[in-house]
Symmetry: C2
Subunit: 411 residues, 2 copies
């Protein structure tokens, strides 16, 4: 099945029938694109997963209502700079007004417009600028890859790279495309991170199965990354499927569904890794693979505990093979294992090395370990020697720049 999946260029405009645009609306940032629009002329079924934070931003409430209802969706409008979180009734009104503006500009119902925001909490959106932005966006919609990239750049906050991924897969004899974009890069600890993610696909699928595929896949992708342990008020991941590929509608689990899930997973995992690797101040992507754990849930818990440990992250930044901090983080994860039986390895493009075995460090070379840890992508492998379950989690190192960015984010 996997051999039929192909990586392609592009993001949210990769799939048939999806248009996008990015524009500089001056919502808060000046001199850069800060609003994005995604649009499908054909109505889409939409699925979404949202922050587990009790404090939910206004757009999260707006989208959740639409996604859980039975309406189809035509568009997603996004702004960066202001999160529209903790903004009370005025903030909720802004969502409706933004959706109204998009609806008017594209001649679609306002409740077919999803809304997302990211940025500073507690500020109100300047609606005059948002409305002007919507007009510009509507006029610039295009199905080019560049239009997708423009949208992906517009949603960035402290991100340093714009993040896109797309694949094709054959389903029911038709070529199906799944493409997406996302942004980080602080307050990233998805339970559902402010991560925002938007995936578009031309697959033909029922709303129920699209939601199930998304909900299941985030457990192993976006919910397995962390930059700083802070679960944002705005975390949102939306998938829109417009059916443009013309495959027989996927309405039950089976081979077609599995193929779609594989494609969705490939896009989600790639976007999640990009988000982790571009975490605020990050100099390296820090991956932890847990293998031979007793259960999937314990594997996830162990992997995530390591990539969340501030001390371990600081050690990765310093290229310091301080494996004791890793063992410590595994130990307080809440999962059970035998510290005397498990094994730890470091791996990167510079090689792979056993570090810890039989309850103590092996006689490894600190120099060689430091070389492995100096690569741009560093992996810790924890072999729990208990069972068959495995899980990966992705984070980043903790650097001076993380502090710099966050000590003074609002100014």
């Amino acid at each position: 099945m996997m051999d039929q999946m192909e990586w392609i260029q592009g993001g949210v405009t990769a799939a048939t029938g999806f248009l996008a645009a990015g524009a500089a609306a001056g919502v808060k940032y000046q001199g850069r694109k800060d609003m994005a629009l995604i649009y499908s002329e054909t109505p889409c079924v939409a699925a979404g997963v949202f922050t587990g934070n009790l404090v939910k931003a206004a757009p999260v409430l707006w989208d959740r209502e639409i996604v859980t209802g039975d309406k189809t969706v035509h568009a997603v409008v996004v702004n960066s700079g202001i999160a529209n979180a903790c903004t009370g009734q005025q903030g909720r009104d802004c969502c409706r007004e933004t959706a109204d503006a998009v609806g008017l500009a594209l001649d679609i119902p306002a409740d077919g417009v999803l809304v997302a925001s990211t940025g500073v909490i507690g500020m109100q959106l300047p609606m005059d600028k948002v409305r002007a932005g919507v007009s510009v966006l509507a006029g610039e919609l295009s199905d080019t890859l560049q239009a997708g990239t423009d949208a992906a750049c517009a949603i960035m906050t402290t991100d340093t790279l714009c993040k896109e991924a797309a694949v094709t897969v054959t389903i029911g004899g038709r070529l199906v495309t799944v493409g997406g974009m996302c942004k980080g890069s602080g307050m990233i600890h998805p339970n559902m991170c402010t991560m925002l993610g938007f995936v578009t696909t031309d697959v033909c699928i029922t709303k129920e199965l699209l939601q199930e595929a998304l909900r299941s896949d985030v457990q192993d992708t976006f919910n397995m990354i962390s930059v700083d342990g802070d679960t944002s008020t705005n975390d949102t991941l939306l998938v829109l499927a417009n059916g443009g590929a013309g495959n027989p509608v996927i309405s039950e689990k089976g081979e077609d569904y599995e193929r779609f899930c594989t494609a969705l997973h490939a896009v989600n995992e790639t976007l999640a890794r990009k988000m982790a690797g571009d975490g605020e101040g990050a100099t390296a992507l820090f991956e932890t693979k847990v293998i031979h754990a007793a259960s999937k849930e314990e594997a996830r818990r162990l992997a995530k505990s390591v990539i969340c440990s501030s001390l371990t992250k600081a050690a990765v930044f310093g290229h310091d093979a301080n494996w004791g901090r890793i063992l410590c983080a595994l130990g307080y994860s809440g999962a059970s294992f035998d510290p005397e039986r498990m094994e730890l390895y470091f791996e990167s493009s510079e090689g792979k090395m056993l570090i810890y075995q039989d309850g103590q460090a092996v006689d490894y070379s600190e120099e060689a370990a430091a070389r492995i840890l100096s690569a741009p992508e560093v992996t810790v492998i924890a072999d729990m020697k208990m069972g068959d379950a495995c899980a990966s989690a992705w984070g980043c190192d903790l650097s001076y720049d993380y502090v710099k960015i966050n000590a003074d984010y609002r100014s």
Copy 2:
């Protein structure tokens, strides 16, 4: 009751019958004191609480066995520099050999000697240096306040200040003293931080009640602090009571027990606050007081979530009144509340200010808020408007120096 409690100078030698010493044994650090000994000629009942980390250092296992048994205790020996964690059988043997050396030097049973270590995980203790250190310590034991301070300095790792506290209280007509010392300052997220804490008292109390008093008090003191969210392998808090005050033995709950608990709490809270304020790289003590929460457990959870938030800690470092991050941290704590009803305040020696009310920011002065946040001790007050429960938690800001210290701790 409180009016009878008096703060006094001193630490572990404040209480009658306790001697201490600090010595430079060269375990790992050079040119500074790195071993401490506490000793009571009279046998002590001992209580202890230990790390909840599954990976427990060898001294934790040694002490836990003694504290949960029925033997009395005479001494505690501590080294800094090497944690004796993840050191296998050899590490466990080191504990026994260290206790044997102390037993021999002081003519007491080895199983009356508690052992604690803090420092790098995974290194073996150089037993020749430890044994030589024990000899020096035994010869220098003294009941002076300076001897207590020497011990408190010897157990420091990345701490910048030595941490002591002591009080007196009258129980059963006799003057009872409770004094203690502790160290931080990284891997501090006690469930039970490597925090090490040692409290000595001359109260006369049963072992059972001493353990109960300790276990109950840590929930509101040491377990309410966090520097970096990493629960150490070595966290240990020990209390030794030698009965030297001559009060009628406290063998049941009642006024005498409550007085002792008040004194123990005062010492523990002071030590915990000192530890948080001297967290690695900290420029400020960051306190969160949750009031009017629905339950004590929710109050604790809310308070701790805020002081653990990396983004909030970085904002405190930047003197940035980024209250949205506080609300975000309250929101992902797992406790339930109404974000539209609760209120947030900033408070310090520079004043007190309402920041958030009715679901949005009040019209406050950013300048005035920054002034409040520039004090050495900064408090956030979260009024949940739900019930009667309250809790305080203590952390510190997140600075460049935290990263610096931890990117290169082992070298």
